[in-house]
Symmetry: D3
């Protein structure tokens, strides 16, 4: 099954950056998502705040956008990419005691923007954690995954 090869390992099993010089530049998109689970008391405290939907979420979104731009500095084998769009949506889901985060990215490049979308979600989640840790040390960041991507060899849609 030729598909199943770890592209970041060479024939000696050593890590390598994938050479993308022979791939063509195409328009590519990716969407990733994740969750930040809160305990019930923390959720209540957040809901009682004056402006919790404002600055808390704006701060996490800005952090996610700025984090996405650092992806190739943070992830050793990622290629630096021009980014045409990074959009982050953060929603407080009261029924499930969690913040739901999703990030959408676009580029025009030889390689995909999945890692940028996943990094955006991760940094936004860590930022929510940081701002809420004083009221809930049991916060869990979970379910960070790729939702879809387009523009590469084959599109992907998570079922």
């Amino acid at each position: 099954m030729t598909e199943q090869k770890i592209s970041h390992l060479n024939s000696q099993g050593e890590v390598q950056m994938v050479d993308v010089s022979l791939k063509s530049v195409t328009s590519r998109t990716a969407i990733a998502s994740g969750k930040v689970l809160l305990n019930p008391t923390a959720l209540e405290t957040i809901l009682k705040q004056k402006n919790p939907k404002g600055d808390l979420i704006a701060t996490a979104k800005i952090a996610g956008i700025m984090g996405a731009k650092q992806t190739s500095s943070l992830i050793p084998l990622c290629h630096p990419l021009p980014l045409q769009k990074i959009a982050i949506d953060i929603h407080l889901n009261q029924d499930n005691y969690c913040y739901e985060i999703s990030a959408s990215t676009k580029t025009n490049a030889e390689t995909g923007v999945e890692m940028e979308a996943l990094t955006a979600v991760s940094i936004a989640a860590l930022t929510l954690y940081d701002m809420l840790k004083a009221i809930d040390k049991s916060i869990t960041i979970t379910d960070i995954k790729l939702v879809s991507k387009t523009g590469g060899k084959s599109d992907y849609n998570r079922k």
Copy 2:
């Protein structure tokens, strides 16, 4: 209940960096953990590789350590801290089809090192994702949480 206050919001509900100038410098530690879930085929591919425990894991560990050092650049309201130790452990748990990551951090400062440990885990997890995404697009990063911390107002041990 005075404990339950979001320290990163001021009285107007605006975000703020907490002023730590009146807190005393103490020795502080934190441990965080997380998981990277694989599908069974991906696990099999990894196990068949020549050197999968070597370079894949070394790369993720290095990325986690370097990521931890960027915590205050990535998380908007984090204070820059001197770091005395960052140790990352990554273990391939075959029974549960996942990598288990844990990070342990130490500082001597006015504020804690939880975010550094959580950032180390997150960046190590994203790095594994990046290197394995060619064989498994359904990888999920999950269960990122604080395991314990010492040295602040009160110690914490997750139950």
Copy 3:
């Protein structure tokens, strides 16, 4: 007049980082301020927006705080400092058609935190500029200055 020496030039007139190893660690603060001047039409557009005091200002504040943490990476001869506090206040002064920005910083170090406060103001101002440039290309950033500092050889209060 021995006071009047450019400390960042050595006896040959070459730039140098000042050696602070013989200065004692003290608690230091600084306050800086600046303005972003708008044309009347831009001000009107801002005032008509749904949420202009929210996200625009939160974004500029976050950028200023994060920029302050990059001061020693941006300004060649600045020493890296631990930062205990960075607070930014941004106020839309309708009478004077401008945003007024002020930043307050604290450290415990051998050298002052003026540059951190000034960098915070500058980056917050540039961020407002960036978000508003589509409605006003004539925006001017002006009056960036040190308001006060304490904790060094002598305190300073701008008259």
Copy 4:
């Protein structure tokens, strides 16, 4: 008046990075300028230095060039751009007791390089401030503005 929309706010008034994926890649330039005002005594001290035109100005220019390359890391909603040119000119205007700074930038991209030129001016100004603060705490950075830009939807020339 449809022109007057804050492009960085979506319909809910939340900040967003503008999606430039549908804009075409064109050659773009920008010029920005700014001033660093000195008190008369500081100017005199500078003029008496052995090599003030050399290293002080070279350092501020280097800082401005390097700062311009960090624009998209510093300004939350800026797109990372390839930069084809960053030129900075710094001139000591003795009659007006100030340094005059101008920065000129070029790219070939979907969006403009104004922020890079403005960031270059701001960081060069802060660097002059830093090197001269020992002789003049009253230095003011002022008049940072866009002088001209070409290559976008419409050219701009400040009157």
Copy 5:
């Protein structure tokens, strides 16, 4: 002899970033190399280690790859470039008591990737130094040079 002009100095002898806006985008490669000299006792210690070819070398390679991506942030007059490939090879040459490092880079841009290859070698060498300094303070990093480059005005092959 018109060839012999320092392109980074303007007609006044002031440093400048070269304007590449009129150069055409071409596929470009570069290879650089360098050495890390060890004393005989250090070499022996390394050879006796359980896993010295694994993690030591993987760490230095990762550092070199990540360092190459920071080239334009580190070298003042370098243009930010998209990078299509960074490959680093590190070999312990026991006969000559040294590590031999080579780095190969590729881009599609208006200007060359020599500095990225040379920076990769330098950071990989510094990383080996850092990890081995406890057993050998006399380590010397040497012979860092360009081996070849293609894609610019003229190709180069070091004799």
Copy 6:
């Protein structure tokens, strides 16, 4: 011989950051040096320039100082340190057709500043290379080494 242990490898031969939390904070210094070898024609071209001692050297010094401040971001297992001094000296040695670079660093920390001094030399050397590569592709960076260090368990002076 207990001295001869690679401190950055644990008992399994895996890389690790050394835990410095039990080491005491002391005043530490380091000096490193290196050379940039030129061919005779390049040297001649440099000597004929109007202002070659000014901006070329100032730029390389600034780059070295700024590079030293990035040491812990570049070298994976380095601890972030407060830096009290970074001084760089660059001298054009005409008799030996080379630039001689030396860097001197100081801190007050649990661990040494050798890597900061070596990184300063390396980045200054790469910067000279970058600015001179148009007139000499055969430039070699060589002899980067630690000259001395004080303040740790034992002082070191290279013979």
